[in-house]
Point group: C2
Chain length 414, copies 2
């Protein structure tokens, strides 16, 4: 029998953790173990002052002049370029704009335009629903007989035929945490003549990504998860430079125009990635996003990934040791290289168990119908906390406190 893991072992890991100092750059409430940074990232301590500065000094004092003197007009490209560095894009290939859903619509529209003779969009049946809903909406609108072909993760290879216009996948699955091989699937899509669109919602800031070396065509991603950009932070998109000139944006708004302030009557797309901008961007939310992205850029994504793999591995080992996989069945791949920075367990009463956990200060989340989901954000989660989280979960399961009526009551947002 192998030696059991002790809390002291985890405290030792904390002491040896090279990225531990980043924890002090976040403000988290006392008594909370936050394992939900994959749903809403924690607040960087620098954010409140920076947001106040923009509200009071830029908006309140400099008013409309701030579009020029504080660079509001460039903020979408500026933050976009910073996120680009996190995903291996080159300067001018990324921009922050709108929501992930709206960006998916832009990129799917562009992909179908680039493959006018093909009628199939491939995606994964368990993809995050908005990706599928947006594809449905576009197909319904175009009325050209496009189809959305939904497949299981293991069946993707065999389904990319020469009728496929675009393969749209989320790199790390929101529900299972399973991570696709971006390079391999992109190559496969290209070999069959399809456009490859990756949703990096659970990847950017969580796992190493290099859209350039993987030769990705389009990507979208989220600002409020691992990038710690604040609730509903604007999203980003990536368009490989080789495609930019060929895209006439479907959402052809004035800020994507080549010359927005000459107020020309007809649309002319901006030179590069800026053509994917649409309307005036929400400056206050973008300000918070930039603080989160700047902080992430100080860290090494490889160091974060090393810690993330250690955290998911040790958490699952603790679940096995303290609770047992016969009780909590691991849904996430057990091989670390096949998963992102999260672990999911299926449990029949996952909803009340998660409510009880949150009540005890361990914040993860529930994903329908029966998933306990835990996100690991190495910038601000320590190892000893993982011991405590599993100990609390063990107690809740053992003493049956999760079965109280108040924990069964459903909330609007899960």
């Amino acid at each position: 029998m192998s030696k059991s893991i002790t809390r002291a072992d985890l405290e030792a890991l904390d002491r040896a953790d090279p990225v531990r100092a980043f924890r002090n750059r976040f403000t988290l409430p006392e008594g909370v173990i936050y394992l939900d940074g994959n749903s809403l990232g924690a607040m960087p301590s620098a954010t409140p002052n920076r947001v106040t500065e923009v509200v009071e000094a830029e908006w309140g004092r400099d008013l409309i002049r701030s579009w020029n003197i504080h660079g509001w007009i460039d903020i979408q490209k500026r933050i976009g370029a910073k996120i680009g560095r996190l995903i291996g894009a080159e300067e001018g290939e990324t921009i922050v704009a709108d929501s992930t859903s709206v960006n998916l619509f832009k990129m799917l529209s562009a992909a179908l335009e680039l493959r006018p003779d093909r009628r199939v969009i491939i995606s994964e049946r368990s993809n995050f629903p908005t990706d599928l809903y947006i594809a449905e909406g576009l197909i319904r609108q175009l009325k050209l007989g496009h189809g959305l072909r939904l497949v299981e993760a293991d069946d993707i290879d065999g389904t990319i035929g020469d009728d496929v216009a675009v393969v749209m996948l989320t790199h790390v699955n929101y529900r299972t945490g399973r991570m696709h091989d971006m390079q391999r699937i992109t190559e496969l899509a290209h070999a069959r003549g399809a456009i490859m669109l990756w949703d990096l919602a659970h990847s950017a800031g969580a796992v190493p990504v290099n859209v350039t070396s993987a030769n990705v065509d389009f990507a979208v991603g989220c600002g409020y998860k691992y990038l710690n950009g604040g609730p509903g932070a604007p999203a980003f998109l990536y368009v490989a430079r080789r495609h930019q000139a060929g895209i006439t944006p479907v959402l052809s708004g004035w800020l994507g125009h080549a010359s927005p302030f000459t107020f020309e009557p007809s649309y002319r797309p901006g030179e590069g990635i800026e053509r994917l901008a649409v309307g005036a961007p929400p400056i206050l939310s973008l300000t918070a996003l930039e603080v989160g992205v700047d902080l992430m850029l100080e860290a090494s994504i490889d160091a974060l990934r090393t810690k993330s793999v250690a955290q998911t591995s040790v958490f699952d080992a603790l679940v096995e040791q303290e609770i047992g996989h016969d009780v909590l069945s691991l849904v996430t791949p057990s091989a670390p290289e096949m998963r992102g920075s999260q672990l999911c367990y299926s449990y029949g009463d996952a909803w009340p168990v998660m409510r009880a956990l949150i009540d005890r200060g361990v914040i993860g989340d529930f994903r329908a119908p029966d998933i306990l989901r835990f996100g690991f954000t190495p910038l601000y989660v320590g190892f000893a906390e993982l011991w405590d989280a599993v100990a609390i979960l063990k107690n809740i399961l053992a003493d049956g406190t999760w079965d109280r009526p108040e924990y069964h009551a459903r909330a609007k947002v899960t």
Copy 2:
């Protein structure tokens, strides 16, 4: 010869102004006369604390739980309902979402779906460009042979034939300040079988609007102008209840789903106006918007309109008295009932004159090619300030200081 207007006359108007107290609810920099609230509204004094509260206590402390406990999930409908009261909508007919441009795309798409046998979108040649660009993008995407028919304001009546699917007009023109008769044109559009879509960007919070009595089908509008919602604040849209069930949104994102958190694989639209939501909304920017809207709801729009008409009238009378309409030619209709809350003058060297004015603390804006634009926001602009603004403008024109090289240099944002 009529008696001239004196500064003392305007001081008397300030003393008698029933909405004067609202000025103290805004924070404006010393030495600035702000006549650009139609481009970016001023900052309510309550905004910084409220935004800090949401950043620190809702995001930082309550984290993901805030979607339920602080009602983030309802914020789009909640603020939407408040804006609805400003435009005469009924509960459940308005929602805050995305940008004006994106909302125009949603509403134009829906209008064309409702009139599948018609192929013409009517708009005004001098409409704000993004409205036209968005229509162009949709037409290009659909490839169904739709056309955008651009007409002059005076020619609208004669051009709404039975081939017209939708009439899309901005109620108050961004460049001339001319205001359309909403009721009359909506009736006319309906008489010809067309859908009526109003852009209220320069109307909401500026002039009385009643979409219910005018029987409007769809409307969109802006949060960062007269609603004082902050830079790039999210926009709103209105859908008359009679149309809601018939709209399957083109941007069918997860937050418009009937049950977003059951993560169903197929899209089912939400029951009412909520189906027009798309992705996660930017909470910090929405927070600031709500402060601005709440403040506006305390005022009487009729009292604001009375003051606005008095302000535009007295400002133009001062321009005539001090400078002369032979020098500054009024582009805005001279009849108050035909204009919104702004005045525009054409002047060959409008650009350097506006730069010089801004340098002297009078902030209006330039609109290409030759427009000096002044917005009047009765909540926080006083009458005596108008005297001072015209006096400064007179001096700049008289002493030629506007002709300095630094005022001719172009900025990125005008």
